[in-house]
Amino acid sequence: MSVYIFHVLIMMGIYAILALSLNIIVGFAGLVSLGHAAFFGIGAYVSGLLMINGLGFPAAFFLSGIITSLLGLCLALPSLRVKDDYLAIVTLGFGIIIGLVFLNLEITGGADGLVGIPPVSLMGKPLYSKPGFFGLVAGVLVVMIVTMYTLKQSKIGRAWAAIRDNDVSAAFMGINVYGYKTMAFITSSFWAGLAGSLYAHYTAYINPHTFNMHTSIMVLSMVVLGGIGSITGSILGAVLLILLPEILRPLADYQDIFYGALLVAMMIFRPQGIMGRVKITEMFGRKK
């Protein structure tokens, strides 16, 4: 039983990191991405492939973040020429393209995915225990939360806030709008890559299916559900949306139906509903 609980906790932690990373784009900079699973996937594949080819864990972990952020840069440079819903569809398109790349490349194992990813090893010892792995995830999460709060208060965070509220007047204030938007994508994809790395080494097996559009949408739902721009909100959103399928598991075949219906219902009733009562998320919520 406790193994199961730690499994759920680990997934919550990984998805909380992923949701927080997306919140940098959506909540801090006021942009949108419907292709976030691509970054998650790139981090997972890069880290998995590096470790299969003999690299140690900490190195593979950090390299996966850095390589993912480079791809984030490559994605941001062209797509940030468009805004709003156009940006949403371009990122969605990128997500699908990257998913097809995972599916069709030889090195990623095609539809079968990547098997036999080595576990995390710290100081030469493989980390097999679930509580131990949870400790690692929690540690990364804490570092990320601290980074997020620091970012929010920093000059960069204020520039993002200005762009989010009105990018034209931000530009008149002398803020390099394009540069700061790109920076949001780079920072976000770095952390998404780290989440992917954790995921790959936790499950030891990844396939393209995990990194499809549905994952992108689920992560975005976590951010929106928790309150756009809210740090605690993204974490709560991740906890809730990971917990939901677990709670709905006894419904078996009806699980997805309920999941879909609940997403609709939560959007409709959100102001007074489940997350609405959590005032702290509203405090950070984007004012409309």
């Binding site: 020429r81 819903d85 097809l100 999941y259 879909g260 997403l263």
Partner: protein, 285 residues
């Protein structure tokens, strides 16, 4: 070879255009993306298949498919979108995605997860045109699509209710002050968009002789891309976007790599958006 690919592209392009018209009208008037449109397409196809199996009448089956698509569209507007009007744009987006998950899993429960063949054997005769093989089914799909697009254009530009929809899309407050019931306009828009998607789904179910609960996903996304490609909110843009997408995808699959067939639509989209950020016909209000 080239002409063959162009014709194949034209057929799928017509279908993308029909789906794109729904996206573009709904976005134009409500500013929201109805992500569940691919599922409406799928339900239209399934209803037609089941009705055809029961009655053997293809016209009745098509009418039933389109009718179910319309009802679903109107219900969707009522339940998943109307309560969210005026909220942050991501909220209706996620609601739409929830509705899409709901409908596709409902279809899995109702119809089973596996592919179904169309219960009607078409033996279209084909002919050759500059070395390309064209069959009557392809011609029929192109003809029906063009007919539906013409009806839609005439409705929007020539009738009182059509013009009211355009007016709501331009300025919903001014439309209300002119006595236009905007909720009705939204409903008609959803109805029209869903009817077109349902018709597209039925035609594709016949064309590929298969229906499955996930059949709407890619046409839905590609229809959306086509709408963006053409410039969202623009009716001719959606049509051109659909055709460009269908042709680009078939040419890409034939000359570059068929395993990346689905990627070409999105590569074309990304390229066009980067070069023409407002879409091909783009002028947004």
């Amino acid at each position: 070879m080239l002409i063959q690919q162009l014709i194949n592209g034209l057929v799928s392009g017509c279908v993308y255009a029909l789906v794109a018209l729904g996206y573009t009208m709904i976005f134009g008037i409500l500013g929201i993306v109805n992500f569940a449109q691919g599922e409406i397409y799928m339900f239209g196809a399934f209803t037609a298949v089941l009705t055809l199996a029961a009655t053997g009448n293809i016209w009745l089956a098509s009418a039933a498919g389109i009718a179910v698509a319309c009802v679903l569209g109107v219900l969707l507007e009522r339940i998943a979108f109307r309560p969210l009007r005026g909220m942050h744009p991501l909220i209706p987006l996620i609601s739409a995605i929830g509705a899409s998950i709901f409908l596709s899993s409902l279809a899995r429960l109702l119809f089973g997860p596996e592919d179904r063949a169309f219960p009607f054997e078409f033996h279209p005769s084909s002919f050759y045109f500059y070395g390309a093989q064209i069959n009557q089914l392809q011609l029929a799909i192109i003809a029906v699509s063009v007919g539906l697009m013409a009806i839609l254009t005439l409705f929007l530009n020539m009738t009182k209710h059509g013009k009211a929809i355009i007016a709501v899309a331009m300025d919903s407050d001014a439309a209300r002050l002119s006595g236009i019931n905007v909720n009705r306009a939204y409903e008609i828009t959803f109805l029209l968009g869903s009817a077109l998607s349902g018709a597209a789904g039925i035609m594709m179910a016949i064309y590929y002789n298969s229906t499955s609960p996930s059949m709407g996903l890619l046409p839905g996304l590609k229809g959306f891309s086509a709408a963006i490609l053409g410039g969202v909110g623009s009716i001719p843009g959606a049509i051109i976007g659909g055709l460009v997408l269908g042709i680009a995808e078939n040419l890409g699959a034939a000359y570059i790599s068929s395993s990346f067939k689905d990627a070409f639509a999105f590569i074309a989209l990304v390229l066009v958006l980067i070069l023409l950020p407002r879409g091909i016909m783009g002028s947004r209000k």
